[in-house]
Structures are given as structure tokens and as C-alpha cells.
Symmetry: D2
Subunit: 337 residues, 4 copies
Amino acid sequence: MIIVLKPEAPADSAERLIARIKDAGLKPLHMPGAERVVLGALGDERVLAELALDSDPAVESVKPILAPYKLVSRELQAHDTVVDVGGVSVGGDRLAVIAGPCAVESVDQLHETASAVKAAGATMLRAGAYKPRTSPYGFSGHGLEGLRILREVGDDLGLPVVTEVMDTADVAVVAEAADCLQIGARNMQNFALLRAVGAAGRPVLLKRGLSATIQEWLLAAEYLMAAGNAQVILCERGIRTFEPATRNTLDLNAVPYVKGKTHLPIIVDPSHGTGIRDLVPPMSLAATAAGADGLIVEVHRDPAVAVSDGAQSLYPAQFEKLMSALAPVAAAVGRSL
Amino acid sequence: MIIVLKPEAPADSAERLIARIKDAGLKPLHMPGAERVVLGALGDERVLAELALDSDPAVESVKPILAPYKLVSRELQAHDTVVDVGGVSVGGDRLAVIAGPCAVESVDQLHETASAVKAAGATMLRAGAYKPRTSPYGFSGHGLEGLRILREVGDDLGLPVVTEVMDTADVAVVAEAADCLQIGARNMQNFALLRAVGAAGRPVLLKRGLSATIQEWLLAAEYLMAAGNAQVILCERGIRTFEPATRNTLDLNAVPYVKGKTHLPIIVDPSHGTGIRDLVPPMSLAATAAGADGLIVEVHRDPAVAVSDGAQSLYPAQFEKLMSALAPVAAAVGRSL
Amino acid sequence: MIIVLKPEAPADSAERLIARIKDAGLKPLHMPGAERVVLGALGDERVLAELALDSDPAVESVKPILAPYKLVSRELQAHDTVVDVGGVSVGGDRLAVIAGPCAVESVDQLHETASAVKAAGATMLRAGAYKPRTSPYGFSGHGLEGLRILREVGDDLGLPVVTEVMDTADVAVVAEAADCLQIGARNMQNFALLRAVGAAGRPVLLKRGLSATIQEWLLAAEYLMAAGNAQVILCERGIRTFEPATRNTLDLNAVPYVKGKTHLPIIVDPSHGTGIRDLVPPMSLAATAAGADGLIVEVHRDPAVAVSDGAQSLYPAQFEKLMSALAPVAAAVGRSL
Amino acid sequence: MIIVLKPEAPADSAERLIARIKDAGLKPLHMPGAERVVLGALGDERVLAELALDSDPAVESVKPILAPYKLVSRELQAHDTVVDVGGVSVGGDRLAVIAGPCAVESVDQLHETASAVKAAGATMLRAGAYKPRTSPYGFSGHGLEGLRILREVGDDLGLPVVTEVMDTADVAVVAEAADCLQIGARNMQNFALLRAVGAAGRPVLLKRGLSATIQEWLLAAEYLMAAGNAQVILCERGIRTFEPATRNTLDLNAVPYVKGKTHLPIIVDPSHGTGIRDLVPPMSLAATAAGADGLIVEVHRDPAVAVSDGAQSLYPAQFEKLMSALAPVAAAVGRSL
């Protein structure tokens, strides 16, 4: 950690800060310059972060040298983590393609959609029983009944299921029903939920928050790992920017960047990442070419009457066409479907 | 609601959509133009929103006419809501000044800080017992013990207390200990928490999310009101932008804008809104001049050793000086301290 | 265009606005609703935009129905424009790969780099003679001498050359030396430059501004076309967001979105779009998979000593490897190199 | 400057980089740590910036210690610069209030508006003869004729005039007609224009770019000062964020932050900063309370028929009311009108 003192800092500031660094069991460095006094502190940066030296009135800025996360870091584990979700691998050579409707609406709706995506090559089923909705007047999911339908359809078709959990009070029931728990974008920094899901013993799909930096996202994953869960899948789903043409700005830069920083697998959600049905296929191909370990795609048997997210849901025939187009792109980057 | 059809939409699309609008009990309008067919739908826009006409493949875009919130709207209630927090009004002529440390660290630390802010003119005490922390390795608050200390110090000094609740499981205990429940920026769209806090029977301080639009923020307040709680205080605390010089970008535009849209009071948090101690006083004055109903300011008896947010916490002497500077600005805009 | 009146608008407002709409030669519509009066205006939206009805104190909001651009719109021209740059097509089946150093530093530097990128398969050469630099103390290019070198190296190797022009005063000399004029991100809304370059009779590479919406970008292209130049290539190069991990956030959503709106070709700059050398190859593949018509990539014979943008410049060997990896991805989406 | 090496950097990297630092005439430091080798370099950071050590493949990151600007820095000049614009001071105790219409439309329109703002207390006149317009079909100003009218009206009323210049080709004529040259937000990084205006011998009003960091803005001011012009007024006018409710997000944090970093005066433009007429008065008060040295406000004799920016222009009566409200706020922060 590098500590830059203010030009007007009293003469004894450096001494005082060096003492605090030493007290924390770290090694201090003193670098007096012409225009600024700079201090260094060698050792565990997480200990240093807790010292909060930037609170000191003599300090102009603090610049960390090491990343604040550890368990998720590729420096700790060089090889890729492969997460097993009900028998389907996420993170290996084969792309994981998760598909399904935004919400569980009925047995029929889910079964028909799930059958279609399975036939087209999807290997996992997604659908929400608990739905985050911007308005209190929107459909917020069928809850327990939705979970039951999801489990039943997944079992019937032999597809592992992924579904969102939004409340610590629901973690146990969702963990019983689902093969993988999703933490949604709006809950990425719901730290109570991260801790509860981290302790639930199920693989986790961790979506990036709408305005989360990559570092904050990896720290959210660190919460899960620190709670004992190493089965974490990251999911880029678009960030919020000034651009109104698309629902979000899908940040595919994050895919290769994250793969350099962590051993955890990363998949991409082009449905929320664009919000526009016609952009989902090209962005699915782009995500794959960028090196993503998989995709999560919204598909509905009849998007025009979907209760939520219909505008970004593919028709089954579009999904089938996407899977055909995906195969050669996956092959071009050394992956299979 | 205005529905614009795609230029290539099949000829029967308008008819089909008009039928859906009628079925929902709304009045349709048909406006065929040279380059686009435009439909109108008159009636409750929330019903229309649930129809999700933008999912229809014939639809290019949907433009709502009315705001999606109702209970919080000034169109429903023209006069200002004044929230009573343990005898202190928020929303009336007198500015509400809430001050205190980021976290409850100890009885001593809180009592000394609270005494100082009370002496300087603060009318409410803030301090966290449950702290959201980006890293799992940070101090996350003293929990129940923190609540107990907060209540004790508040009672001792006769200051109503505000504190954050982060988990639905904690709502009951926090509601018992605190006069006002804070929903933090990261939980603004934690809908399970909004419902639980809305039902808890205590005034609520609802912080704006880091990347929440004003409309989403008002919809979060609508969740609280729809759950039966009309005692809602909005709190602007800065949004996330590209600017790295400050921790957040305090959006003071939101103050007069929000006051035009809702009857709820709005206060400003210049501490998180800037992240820099020296910017807190001028931005407190600016918030007041912009028409805010109050301030929430972090003050610590010794910020240099605060366990969290020290860099943005005022020294007690700075807070005292701020209060002196605030009085004439408040008077200039017709408010008192 | 849809005009929504304020609830408190005086009773005669609709009449007055309808008169203004008629005076402009457009057809008005009157849609009185329970909570708002809504007006429609059918006809040329550009005429309506100039009426600026949102300035009227009775108007709450104005919602355009049609895009404000015309010449660049796919509604005007359904088939793709193919731009010819010195014999190289941009916009057809073959991907255009433009490569070269950030700046012309010397004949040797440029010739060696250009030879390497040509050998690897690049079909066009890029290098700056006029360099936009954030600081007045940075190297700002060799100017006329740089242009001379660029032309000489291009001619020697048979590569068309692309270079930036930053000042209306330089348009003539740059147009004489280069096959394609680049308008940089910082000048995307330098309207005087757009008009001058639009009249210069050379193909134009129009980079997206750092904070330009797609609509503003297409309007900048409309400036060029309105000035008589139909040979416009759009270039997505990353937008500015809150994410500090990468220099910019490459917005690949823009690629398929733009192709739906305009007939103009679009290429991608993964060098500025990421700012990090190691991210350039995967994002080049992603851009291609997303449907881009080409790439513009910074390559330097020795990036470690480049005078500018070295951190994002590829080594020649990396570029060669990228081209090998690119071929199967291009083939997978029906393009060739 | 702090240079952090990659963990996998070859053993001789530090030695090589230290040699480069020495060759540049700077003093190197070597700080080998357990997880990273860190280097320091003491001396002129602008020399170091040009070394571009982040281009070296062994380097993970580079962290500057000093700001990249010098002439504008308060470290170079501790006392406030007061700019004299035709006899009106900007930067002293008295607030500078610049008002007028967006564009010069006619002698009548300008004279009537200017008379009204003068009567209300404005001390300088603004109006555009060259207007940046997003669309090529918008009114782009009356050019030379507009300049002539502006000068005439300014002289007649004894008000110094400020107007925008957009093209290096127009700098001479605008400098002849105006007392202060405005560089608009879209041209903040039009470096050719900055150099030309810097050499024109007139005070400059430098608007912040839509997505410009404060550091980039100060570097744009450094361009002007490096070109020999010390008469620079900064103008905060809102930045582009995700929030659609207002045209821009007025960043008042920038006011006290900038005053800590530079000796140059800073004024605020609440008209562009909000885009909404009703928000202009409260945000004018807020800007003043935050410590701004002045305001620039759009006023039109009849905004409903203004050719541009009518929605954010005040009616003369509103401006008069604003001036009355401003006086006590200014007094509260020790300023006069």
C-alpha cells in the first residue's frame, strides 16, 4: 500500500503513520520527495485496508498495490474452477447453455418452453419463482408453487434448474428445490443474502450488479467463498450507462478481464444485457467468442404474452437457430456445445 | 400509453393490439401515420404496464404517459407529508439535521460523538449496528449489542435514533430499538426488505440506490407505502458516475425535481455524496439552498481512527462550524434550524 | 410526435398548440384523457423538433415517434452501404482489418510495423500525424511530416491509409495525404469539423464519442451525409462508464443495434475499447462474432517504447496470432478475411 | 510515480525499468515485496508520464503521485485568480451573474432580453452566434451577423458579452466581437481550438465536457494557460449520467473540489445542468451556497418560441425573482451580487 501525504501535512505525520503501520505488524517505507512525502506499507493489504489510513487528516490518498480479494483470485489458485450443477459442468471445454422463461407462469408454459430449449441443445433450465420487480404492482412470481413446478419440470426433462433467491428467509426452500441458486443483479451487494447463500451448500450463479465494478463483483464472490462455498459462477448481465437504446450495456470486456483475475467460471446473460430480442443472438455469439464459459438466455413459448421480460425473450424457433449459429463460433474458439 | 408499431408490422397488428387493450378494460386510439402506425391506450397505466405490449413482435416502442407510481405522487396528495420521528419533524419548516458516526463502535465513542452533535444543534442521531461492507473482511457492525448502545445513548441524550436494517430477519429487532429504519443504497431494490420494513410500523429513511433513477427510487418508496407505511423520508446520497475525484456524484438536481413529483420529504447525505470531509460543509449548504428538508451527516469524535468511513466523517469542531454556517443559508431559503 | 400536457395546463393550451402544429404544415390529433391531455402531430418530425414544443410552459413532455436522422437511416436505404477506401471494401463479406501504430514516430518505425501487419493480413494502415492528447505536454504528432511518411509507407506497401484530422484548418492537407479521414471520439460533435470533412470528398471513419448515445452518433454521421459525403464508416471504440478496470467499456451491443438502424458499415476498435493489450484479441473475436464489418487495431513494433498508447498496442507476433484466431470466427459468421 | 510489476515479470525487469527512470533524469526507488515488486520514481511526473512505463509488459500498473497539471494548480499559485471581463470581475467577492438567451435571434429579441436581465441585476450578457446542434437540420446560429448584434446590444447596455466559438477559423472574429470566448462542453477536448483560443488574448469561459473528469477539465484549462492565457473561468454545466429525468446531472461536488485544486474561478450553468426551467432557480441558489463564483443562466423574453433551449430558459420575471432569492443566499456565504 502506498500512502501519499498532503503537502501541508505537519512534519511529524510520517512518523505517526509509520508507527501505526508497524503496530499493525506491517513493514513501513519512508520516501520523502520534493513535493510530497510518500509512505509504503508492505504486508497483508486487507489488514491495511482496515487501518483506514485515508481517514487521517495528513493523508492525501492511499493506493493499494494488491487486490482486496483473495480466495477468488487466480494468484491463489491458478487453474480454472469447474462448477458442477446437477451433473452439468460450468467452466470446462463445453459451453453451458442455460435457457428458459423469465418466470414460472404455469406447468404447461414451463414444460413446453423447457422441452423446446432442451431439444435445441440447452443443458440447464432457468425460470423465476421469486421475481424482483421495479414496481410493487408487478407480478412477483408464484413463490413456493413456482419452485415446485420448476423442480417437477426439471426432473421430468432431466435438466438441472437455476432460480433466483431474494430473501434470506427463502434460502432453505430454494436450496432444496434448485440445483443452483441465483443471486440477482439488484442483490449483488445484499451482504446478508450473500452470507446465507454462501452457507447453503448449493452452487451459486452470481450476477453482476447494475453499477458494480468488477472488483466489487469479485468481492461479492469472495463473500460466498469466505462463507464456505467454492461453487460460484459469475454472470455478466450488462451494466447501467448513459445509453438509452439498450436496456443495459453488456460489458463483454469483463469476460476476458475477469478470467485473468479469477479462477471462477463466467457466463453471460445477453437477454438482460441488451433487453432487445433481436440483439440476443449476435451478442450470444460475441460472448462466446470473448471466452465466456456459457450463456443464460430467456426463451418463452410465446413471448408476446409473457408476464415479464417478453421483449427480450426469444421465440423457441429463434433459440434453435441461435444454437445452430453458436456451434461453429464455439468451435472456432476451441469450445463445444 | 402510446404504442408505436414497427414499419414492417403485419397489417392486422393494430387490430390485434387494440383488442388486447380493450380486453384490459382500457380505451384504445388508432393513429395511422405515413411512416408509422401509432396506437394510444387511455386508462390506468399500471394495468397497461402489466400487459407488456412491448413484448409483441409488431411493437417498436411503448411510451408511458403517466408515472408508474401513485401513492407517493403529488398528483394524489398535493400537500407535503411531514414525517414524525420520535417527536422530530422531517418535512416542515425546520431543517432536520441527523448526525453521528458511521458505526456504533462503543458506548464511549457514541456518547461522546452524540453529545457533541447535539450540542451543535443536531436533532437526531445516526449510527450503524449492521454495516454493509464491500469486503467480507471488513467490520460489519456490532449487531444487537450495537442496537442496544444506540438506544441507550439516544435515550440518555433525548435524541431519536436512525439506523440501517439490512436483512428481513432483523427488521423486528431494529424496529424495536430505533425510531427510524434506514434502507441503505445497496438495498434500495431489495424488494423483500422493502415489504418487510413497509410493514414494520416505523418511519423509514430510504436512500437512493447508487445507480437508481429517480423513478425507480420513487417506486421503491411506493413499495413502502403500498405495504401500509406512509412515513417515508427520501435520502439523496450520491449516484455512481464516471467521475473518480469524489466517492459519488451528489445529485442535487434530484432535490427540487423530487419535490415536484412527490409529497414525501427529502433529505441529503453529503458525507456519502462526496466521500471527502472537506466537501461536506459546502455541499450541506448547497443541499439546503436547493430545498432539502434536512441533512444526514457523518461525525466522529476522532475520524482518524474511525473503523469505517473516517475519510468522510467530520470532526466535532467542523460540524459545529457547519451548523453555524448553515443557519443563515437556511434562513435565506425560509427554513430554520 | 406525441405532446403530453401538464395536468395544470390552462384549458386553452391544447387549442394554442394545435394551431402551432397546423401552422407548421402538420396534422394535429387531440386525445383528451382523464389525467392528461395528449396531443399528436403527424408529419416530418424534424420540422416538429424545430418547433420546440417542449419549451411551452403547458407541455410536460414531448415524445418523438421517428428517429431524427434520415439519410443514414435504413428506412431510407434498405441495402448495406459498402465504402471503398483506396480499393479496400468496408461493409461487404470480407472483414476490413485496419492496423498500425498509434502515432507516426519515424519512417523506420512505421515501415517495420506496417510490413508486419500487412504480412499478417491487415488490409489498411492506420497511424496518427495529429494526435489528440489530454495533456498539453504530451507528444501531439509530427503533423505534415507525419502525413508525408504515412503516405510514403502506404504507397510503398500498397496499403490504403487512415489518419485522424482534428482541425478544420488541416482538412485539405489530410484529405490529400490519406485515403480515409478519421474523426476521433473527442471530435464526434465538433460540428464545424464534421461539415468540413463531409465536404472533403474522402471516405470518413467516424468514431463514437466517449459519451455519445447511438442516436447522437448517427446524427453526426447525418452531418457528414448532409454535407454530401455518403462514404461513412462508423467505429465503436468504447464508451465512458463507471468501470475503472478498463480504459473504456466497449459497447458491442451497438454493433447489431446500429446495423438495424443504418445502412452504413460499422467497425470496432478493441484497442481503445479496452486499453489493455491482453484484452484486444478476445474482444476482436467478439466484435467479429457480433457482426462488425471490420476492426481497427493498434500494433507497434515495440510497444514498450511507443510514444503513445503502448499499453494497448499489440506486439507484431500477437497481431499475427490474432489474425490466425480471427479466421475461423469470421468464417463461423459467414465472413472472410 | 509508483510502478507495480506483474507477479510473473522476469527477474531483470526491475533493473531495466530503473535504468529507464535514471536515463530520464529521475530518482528511482526499489521496493521488493512478498507478492509484488514495486518501484518508485521521484521527479517531474510529466516527464514520467511521457516515458509511458505502463506500456512495458512487465508492468501491472502505474500510479501517479502528483497531478498532471501545473499552471492551473493551487500548489503553484495559492491565491485566487480574478478574471476581468470587460470591467466585470469573476472570482472575487461579488458573484458574476451572466444571463441571456441561448441564441441571438434578432436585435429585438436580444435587446429586450438583455435589458430585462440587466434590470434584474445581471452583469454580463450571453448569447450564441455559433450554436452547436446535435442535428444538422437544427438552427446553427446567425454567425457574423449574430456577433454584430451581440456587440451592438452589449455596447448599448454597457454589458460585457460572452459567446461561444466552435472553429479555429472563427477565433479571430469572435475575439474581436466578444469580451469573453466560450469553449462549449462538446469542444472541451478540441485541442486545436484550445490552443487557438489560448492565444487569442481574451478571457475564456471553459465549460466542462459532458463526460470529462475534473482532471481532464483542468488539463484543458492547462492547455489555455500553456498557450499564454491566464484569464480562464471554469464552468460546471452538468455531466452525462444514467439519470434521464434531467438533461444532465449538475455536479456541484465539482465546485468545492475544483476550488481546492486550482486558483481559477468557477461558475455554474444551471440551465444546461438541469435542462428544466423550474429547476434553474433552486440550483442557482445551491451553486452559490456551494461556493461558485458566479452563474450563467439562460433567459429569453418568450421561451415558448425560442429557437433553441426554450425548455430550460427562464422567463424574465422568473429571472428577476431568482435574483431576489439569490441575494440572501449570497450574503449567507459571504458574497454579494
